[in-house]
């Protein structure tokens, strides 16, 4: 297994980069970061619609979220492969297709995270800021969002982990990300699929596990900061009891 890593680590890390297109783990991370950054603003918009008092906005955004939640990502990728060139008017790379698909898919999922963050805030926050004369937008911008986003950081990191895992679907439409590179290695070696795919799994595991641990650590920190002293003590006591049994 080590010899496979020794011979192919560059291909798995950057694809054929200096001589060919960029790929491998680096492309996976680029895809994930772009997917997160581009879908985030949209997801805030959808979340505001989902919590909006205007019925039309609420209904249409809810329908959108449920449609995305009910259809597999693979189907979206195929739709993107088919529709994006028609909408743009010329053929696009598989990379662009995957990014577009991820944006659509992730905005819906992220919007649920954002909505949960907004709705978890005590009602008094909105009421107080409205009572102080702030309008809807000002309240959202200066009161709701800063607190909600801060509380949401761990969930957003978990969602980022999901995105990293979802980019592996690019393999289906030949985006040269990590899974695709590993498959190339497998095709070169032919006889040793188990170690190759195990290396692939371990690579994803390391990246995602580190991020998951960060998210959990942050979540604990934020809960500790946000909760009043007594409940904090009680929850710690409960935890130790439950963990210890």
């Amino acid at each position: 297994m080590l010899d496979i890593i020794r011979d192919n680590w560059l291909l798995l890390l950057v694809g054929q980069y200096p001589t060919g297109p960029l790929g491998g783990l680096v492309l996976t991370l680029i895809l994930s970061v772009m997917g997160l950054l581009l879908s985030f603003p949209i997801s805030i918009g959808i979340a505001l619609c989902r919590t909006s008092p205007i019925r039309f906005l609420y209904v249409s955004s809810t329908v959108l979220v449920y449609i995305v939640r009910g259809v597999p990502l693979v189907m979206f990728v195929f739709w993107g492969y088919f529709l994006v060139p028609i909408l743009v008017g010329h053929s696009v790379t598989a990379f662009t297709t995957l990014i577009c698909t991820l944006i659509v898919y992730e905005s819906a999922y992220l919007s649920e995270v954002v909505r949960a963050g907004i709705q978890a805030l005590p009602k008094g926050q909105v009421e107080a800021s409205r009572a102080l004369g702030m309008g809807y937008w000002k309240t959202n911008l200066w009161v709701v969002m800063p607190q909600a986003l801060y509380n949401m950081v761990p969930s957003i990191i978990s969602q980022f982990v999901s995105i990293i895992k979802e980019t592996s679907i690019g393999y289906v439409i030949s985006v040269q990300e990590l899974t695709f590179s590993a498959n190339q290695v497998n095709n070169n070696l032919l006889t040793r699929p188990f170690p190759v795919f195990l290396i692939l799994a371990i690579t994803y595991f390391i990246v995602c596990f580190v991020l998951t641990q960060c998210a959990q650590h942050l979540e604990r920190t934020i809960t500790r900061k946000r909760s009043p002293k007594m409940t904090q003590l009680r929850s710690i006591a409960n935890d130790s009891v439950l963990e210890g049994q």
């Binding site: 009910g70 693979v74 195929f78 795919f197 409960n238």
Partner: protein, 232 residues
């Protein structure tokens, strides 16, 4: 932009048959992997709650692996990797018995069992500790307590995420197309290749997935309501 839509081309002759067989394969895959996932998920959650250090650590490692590796990679590892480790006789047997379906079920089932066990674990945590203490002091054993007192309450608490993950499992069976299991997505791709009716073919598959997913969500909501009413 799309020309004239012609769904009759998709539903004509052999394609209708293909679509039905694809739908059946998808349901088969969902049923087998769901059964595996729920069964194993309960076992894992109980093991984790048992408090044996080795069991707890092993379950935690199992869950961490399956939650942090893409399901697609797990499916590829099972389908391409694992058979090479098996003896020849086992390999030929599996190839003769729909290997794609078997390995896809195992991969999806194991992966989702990690999610189900985590759902149950947080469900167990939300059951007040006094419940368990009371049951134990009334003379119920560890398993008796689990069976009659803690698990029923835990399942009730875990139901919403449990339903979400069931829908996720159903959707993720579409990943089995990458290893050539002839389920819905795979079949639709075939039809698209032969008829060039891309829009119609994808629309049929999308509506199928959407209908079943929404149906599962609705069913889940119904069950939830029922159980909540019983609890009162």
């Amino acid at each position: 932009m799309l020309g004239r839509l012609d769904f009759s081309a998709i539903f004509a002759g052999p394609f209708a048959h293909l679509l039905v067989s694809g739908a059946i394969k998808t349901f088969e895959l969902t049923a087998t992997s769901w059964t595996l996932a729920v069964g194993l998920g309960v076992v894992l959650a109980v093991l984790r709650a048992s408090g044996f250090p080795i069991a707890t650590k092993a379950v935690a490692a199992f869950v961490a692996y399956h939650q942090n590796v893409p399901m697609l990679v797990q499916i590829l590892l099972w389908y391409f990797g694992v058979p090479t480790l098996l003896p020849d006789a086992a390999q030929t047997w599996i190839n003769a018995h729909d290997g794609e379906l078997i390995f896809a079920s195992i991969a999806v089932g194991l992966c989702m069992s990690a999610y189900f066990s985590e759902d149950l674990r947080s469900g167990l945590r939300s059951v007040h500790h006094g419940q368990q203490e009371a049951a134990r002091s009334l003379g119920l054993s560890f398993f008796g307590t689990m069976r009659y007192v803690t698990l029923p309450q835990a399942i009730r608490n875990a139901l919403p995420t449990f339903i979400n993950h069931t829908v996720l499992l159903f959707k993720n069976t579409s990943l089995a197309m990458t290893i050539g299991a002839a389920e819905m997505t795979y079949v639709v791709r075939e039809i698209e290749n032969e008829t060039f009716r891309t829009f119609e073919a994808y629309a049929v598959a999308t509506l199928f997935y959407l209908a079943v997913s929404l149906g599962l969500m609705g069913l889940g909501a119904l069950v939830e309501k029922r159980i909540q009413n019983q609890a009162r």
